[in-house]
Symmetry: C2
Subunit: 110 residues, 2 copies
Amino acid sequence: MSGSDLFTGTLDLLILRTLQGDPLHGYAIGRRIREGSAGILTVEEGALYPALHRLEGRGLLEAEWGKTDTGRRAKFYRVTDEGRSHLELESERWTAFSGAVQAILGPKGG
Amino acid sequence: MSGSDLFTGTLDLLILRTLQGDPLHGYAIGRRIREGSAGILTVEEGALYPALHRLEGRGLLEAEWGKTDTGRRAKFYRVTDEGRSHLELESERWTAFSGAVQAILGPKGG
DNA sequence: CCCCATACCTAGTTCAGCAAGGCGTAGCAG
DNA sequence: CTGCTACGCCTTGCTGAACTAGGTATGGGG
């Protein structure tokens, strides 16, 4: 991801969540995540595209070639129903885990 | 870790934090983390011991053989000064990251 | 005496993420 | 037209954390 790879497995969640709205292409997903996290989360392309393929392979995403506003060729991803319920479950799991970690690290992080 | 490996890299933080109080041996560290997280975080031994050795190798922990209350042989770990400052930095980083993820996933996780 | 919980360890595998490349195209400056 | 930059997609090779699945040894209880 960025910095030095905290959070393995979280990328999937981030992608799924980012695609909850309208379908987006990979490049835009990366940008959204970065902007949506105020620059804290930077998704490397070498992590992003394989992740997209992984999620598609698992049936959590569907891809379709299309065109961007600026007329460029791009592959647009949409979340499947399975992807949606997966996101819901994993999202709750994530919250539980991060809460548990926070509970051990200390309420404020210090 | 448990369930299906969310949170790569977080184990180090958990260990360091658990050792902030008194020195503990590996087995006890694992138990503490599990109990301190209400059973949510389960540290596999195959992850725990290598992590301990890693942290010792990096100079963040120091180890010493001793005896438990029940008279058993055990290796007790203590956090070094370097480990302490490492924990502080990484802990803040963790909070920032997890906050950023939470910001994208949604304020409540759903 | 045997089993279980304690307490330590390792070899082998898996797999996410990173680094570092490559490909093609649209738009703009010169 | 040339060159540069941003867009947009991809892959190969590597690292390294965590898991699986074992193994060792010992003390106490049935």
